[in-house]
Symmetry: C2
Subunit: 229 residues, 2 copies
């Protein structure tokens, strides 16, 4: 269900047809025609004010980026940021992440980013967490077999939950760090608005890579053939 | 290399032939004859003063326990604790964990416990950490396919390192918690001496289960057959 607090928001969004395609479902499986190239597609799930995704788009012109966001109050700020930078490899999907499969075809996405997602700490809200196995199953279907999810969070509970869910769903876990900004993985790290604030307060950032289960299956096969030789 | 600081320690240990078999290599693959039963074998790697393993042995008479410890100053305290309790399902191996394969045959061990192992925080000492992939390869060889390693530590760096190594070596990670004593997994938890002290100071305890890679391979197979049906 879309929340539309302010009248005229849809009209405002409609003034950016390239940055906020409102007919995204029509491009499912053919985003390459939308962008006019065959570049890889990276999707941030929950873009907020868009600092992360606009910076990445600026730094990597050969990758097409999507910022997925439901809340128009923050989305419009991301859109204006992107417009000011005149980026042509970035778009926003003003949708519920729940519906992500309506917008991308199987294997169409190279990478998902999950940045500082709502931790939904109460147990009865576990299914709303964006790393719940039901979500992971969706992402897995849309990712290329070579693809991966990158997760960053300041929330220990969400990180713990996510590691367990990734492992259970047979993603290949890599580069797990409990303190990104004091780790080797900080090189090239692009900060979100939240992250900059948290790091400024001396808080630790958790991060990991969860590679597509096909990569784990391949490693299992490789191991098997090595042992049987 | 065995450290022998005090003269007569070997002789002292030799006075407990059942509790500290000094000819452990001879029982490799036939510990059932040593214990006179076919009960499962659980091994704590680095037993220290032995509170954990003696308590477990007391609670579970149908499991045979080993405490592995190199340092005789602490080992002798564990031995005396076990002697006082008159346990016949517990023995100690006064050996270097490095040599563990000389004492157990492939598939002879049902469970390994790693409790508050030395974190060896310096990068150049990474290979000494008891969850380094070289150690994991040894444990894997000795574990039954249904077996698992249980890791507890207060050290964030070691926990982070261990999760990465377990994932890389294709163990199936389960029940990861960053705060054991405020988690559902605390039920039935037996504390080590360190743990009691740390918990008393309000410190958090990290814990996870790493099931034998055969269990991960089986899950991958199951997943494959489910998708292809």
């Amino acid at each position: 269900m879309r929340l539309r607090k302010k009248p005229g928001v849809r009209e405002a969004m409609a003034t950016y047809p390239k940055l906020v395609p409102l007919n995204g479902e029509e491009y499912k499986g053919k985003w390459n025609s939308f962008f006019g190239n065959d570049n890889p597609i990276h999707v941030e799930l929950g873009t907020g004010k868009g600092n992360f995704i606009t910076t990445l788009a600026e730094q990597n012109p050969d990758i097409n980026y999507f910022g997925v966001e439901l809340y128009e109050e923050v989305l419009i700020r991301a859109v204006k940021k992107a417009e000011a930078k005149e980026l042509n490899n970035l778009s926003f999907l003003w949708i519920n992440i729940q519906d992500i499969e309506k917008y991308f075809a199987p294997g169409e996405v190279d990478k998902f980013y999950l940045n500082f997602s709502d931790p939904w700490p109460k147990k009865r809200h576990a299914r709303r967490r964006l790393t719940h196995s039901e979500f992971l199953t969706k992402y897995k279907g849309l990712l290329k077999p070579e693809g991966a999810i990158q997760l960053k969070t300041d929330n220990e509970g969400l990180f713990q939950f996510s590691l367990n869910q990734f492992a259970q769903e047979l993603f290949l876990l890599k580069e797990i760090t409990f303190d990104l900004h004091n780790s080797e993985y900080v090189e090239g790290n692009v900060m979100t608005e939240y992250e900059a604030k948290f790091v400024g307060q001396g808080m630790k950032i958790f991060r990991c890579i969860a590679a597509h289960p096909a990569q784990l299956a391949a490693k299992v096969e490789e191991q098997k053939s090595r042992t049987s030789v």
